[in-house]
């Protein structure tokens, strides 16, 4: 008998659409309704042949051999204890319960705890540290906003249902004309599919958003005459036209994305955007929101802030207190500088998404464990790969949407092959660490690193056939 499960929240992007309808039968997913193409793919992936059903360990010939959870947990626990400064990075697709459990493990391990924001909206965190975050929940945009700006954000691709659920098209309480009542402005160096849905497109010169924001702020502060004729490739008259739309708006909202965080200046592109929002509030209501990537990438920021006071890049190696300073304690910098001696890649794929010049310094030098439901690039070079249940498909839990609203996820099928959830896995790693410590295993400061198991010596490169 097939069963229809309603109001299922989608484990793909930060929009966390919670209106999916999933049809299942005998633990298999038959159909997914309401999801975008990417979300649909996640559910189908769960039922696909060839999933990893057991922890596996890399062999000398580069193949993998199944091991038990106990063996995988013991390896991970020893690695965490022995390493002088292990890095636990990822959590893009982990629920908050798993992230909280990981926090306890990291504290016990004296690890650096970091999440994907480190290479994504980390710059936004830096900006929020410096200027704050005048924001709102997505319903405010839906119900009130009549001017919506997508700045350096390609929602059409990265958050496929964002525009229809929140940003552009929905009819809300005070916005019952839907998109006809909204002015939509996109700022991007490329004419993206998001720009195509907009009333106005500002083709900013790549890397010069900061200058354009400054010009906007000058207009808001009344220095119209002093604005140069062209700023960042945009003619002054166009800037003034957009500023007029903003000033006439009843409720203005800015969504910003990687275009700001990934280009020169990083956090300052965001903090000047936030300062523009402060300026606009003198004239009319305005809020801003980071287009967070993964469905629960806001989660670790929230959870670790209450555990340690910092959202990411948390160095717990001192044991006495937590320290955070991105640029030093951020995963990519740690990798670049050779500052960690063990690596757990969890719920992400550093192998695919770090610059290879950063990742190779981890992948070729330090013991590595990947915790992820699927085979990803990091898993293909890890010493141990531990599969876990897919959040939102095989286990529920709390996840934070891009606006930090907690969304309660549901399991629609049981975990494949009885694999563990992230939370169960981390709790068992913690228990094993405590056991090992009572057995006298410790980080003893010997210069050689905890020896990799004999079977894990890196495979020698053969010349290409």
């Amino acid at each position: 008998m097939s069963e229809v499960i309603k109001n299922v929240a989608c484990p793909y992007c930060g929009a966390c659409c919670d209106d999916l309808v999933v049809t299942v039968e005998n633990g298999k997913i038959l159909e997914v309704q309401n999801a975008c193409v990417i979300g649909t793919e996640i559910y189908h992936h769960a039922s696909r042949e060839g999933r990893v059903g057991s922890p596996r360990m890399r062999q000398p010939d580069g193949t993998y051999k199944d091991i038990t959870y106990d063996e995988a947990i013991d390896y991970t626990a020893r690695m965490l204890i022995k390493a002088k400064k292990p890095l636990i990075y990822g959590f893009g697709s982990t629920n908050c319960e798993g992230q909280a459990a990981a926090g306890r493990v990291a504290e016990e391990a004296g690890a650096v705890l970091d999440n994907c924001a480190s290479i994504c909206h980390g710059s936004s965190f830096l900006a929020i540290f410096d200027t704050g975050y005048p924001s709102c929940t997505l319903g405010e945009v839906k119900n009130r906003a009549d001017v919506v700006i997508y700045w350096g954000s390609n929602a059409a691709h990265a958050h496929p249902r964002h525009m229809s659920r929140y940003g552009v098209f929905p009819r809300g309480f005070f916005t019952n004309k839907g998109h006809r009542g909204r002015k939509v402005i996109t700022v991007d160096p490329r004419y993206t599919d998001t720009a195509r849905c907009s009333d106005i497109f500002l083709q900013v010169k790549q890397g010069h958003d900061y200058d354009l924001f400054d010009a906007f702020r000058m207009v808001m502060r009344g220095y119209v005459d002093d604005v140069p004729e062209i700023v960042a490739g945009i003619p002054k008259e166009k800037i003034l036209e957009v500023c007029d739309i903003i000033k006439m708006g009843r409720y203005v909202h800015i969504f910003f994305g990687m275009g700001l965080c990934h280009s020169d200046g990083r956090n300052h592109n965001v903090d000047i955007a936030i300062n523009l929002v402060r300026d606009i509030n003198e004239i009319t209501k305005c809020t801003i929101m980071a287009m967070r990537g993964h469905y629960n990438i806001a989660g670790p920021g929230v959870v670790w802030s209450w555990q340690f006071g910092f959202p990411y890049c948390i160095d717990l190696s001192k044991g006495s207190h937590a320290h955070m300073n991105p640029g030093e304690t951020s995963s990519v910098d740690l990798a670049n500088r050779g500052e960690v001696d063990a690596f757990i890649n969890i719920g992400t794929d550093a192998g695919a998404h770090f610059p290879i010049r950063s990742f190779e310094k981890l992948g070729s030098r330090v013991p590595m464990v990947t915790i992820d439901p699927s085979v990803n690039m990091a898993a293909t070079v890890s010493d141990v790969h531990i599969p876990v249940a897919i959040v939102g498909v095989e286990t529920g839990g709390i996840c934070y949407r891009m606006d930090n609203v907690p969304i309660q996820y549901r399991a629609v099928v049981p975990p494949y092959n009885g694999i563990l959830t992230d939370e169960e896995l981390f709790n068992r790693i913690l228990n094993r660490m405590l056991e090992l410590k009572t057995e006298g295993i410790e980080c003893d400061g010997k210069w050689e690193y905890a020896k990799p198991l004999p079977s894990l010596i890196p495979v020698k490169i053969e010349p290409e056939a």
Binding site: E41, Y64, S123, A158, H262, R266, I356, F359, E360, G363
Partner: protein
Amino acid sequence: MNALHLNMVTQRAVEEGEAMEAGKTTQKYFDVCTVIEMNADDIKAMEIPPNAIVKVTSECGEVIVKAIIARQTCPRGLCHMRQSVWANQVVPPRTQSTGEPQYSGFPVTVEPALDARIVPAVELVQKACNKWNGKLLWPM
């Protein structure tokens, strides 16, 4: 045929997102990510046909991909690669001490390499990590 010096951005595309969720070892992921999106006039200026194979070189590496006319228009001088294993072969790891690599806005040289082989993701990553044993364990 000419080489071009362009400004590169690497970002998400829905095709890449969908393929990624299907699996990074799949043919689908390979097909949608091994491309560099360029302005049609830039491709013309290189004197290559669209969809020709090119070599993209940055300050820190190189990668072989197909040059296509951008699905989402790039102005001249700007090119785009979908964030992926291939894009990250050339993304500079420098972070300006913020933790974030230079994913967008770095100079690249694009030159024709019509006979070059586009390398699968696993091979690229395993080679970089000194863990390549000569065969793909995850056939596409």
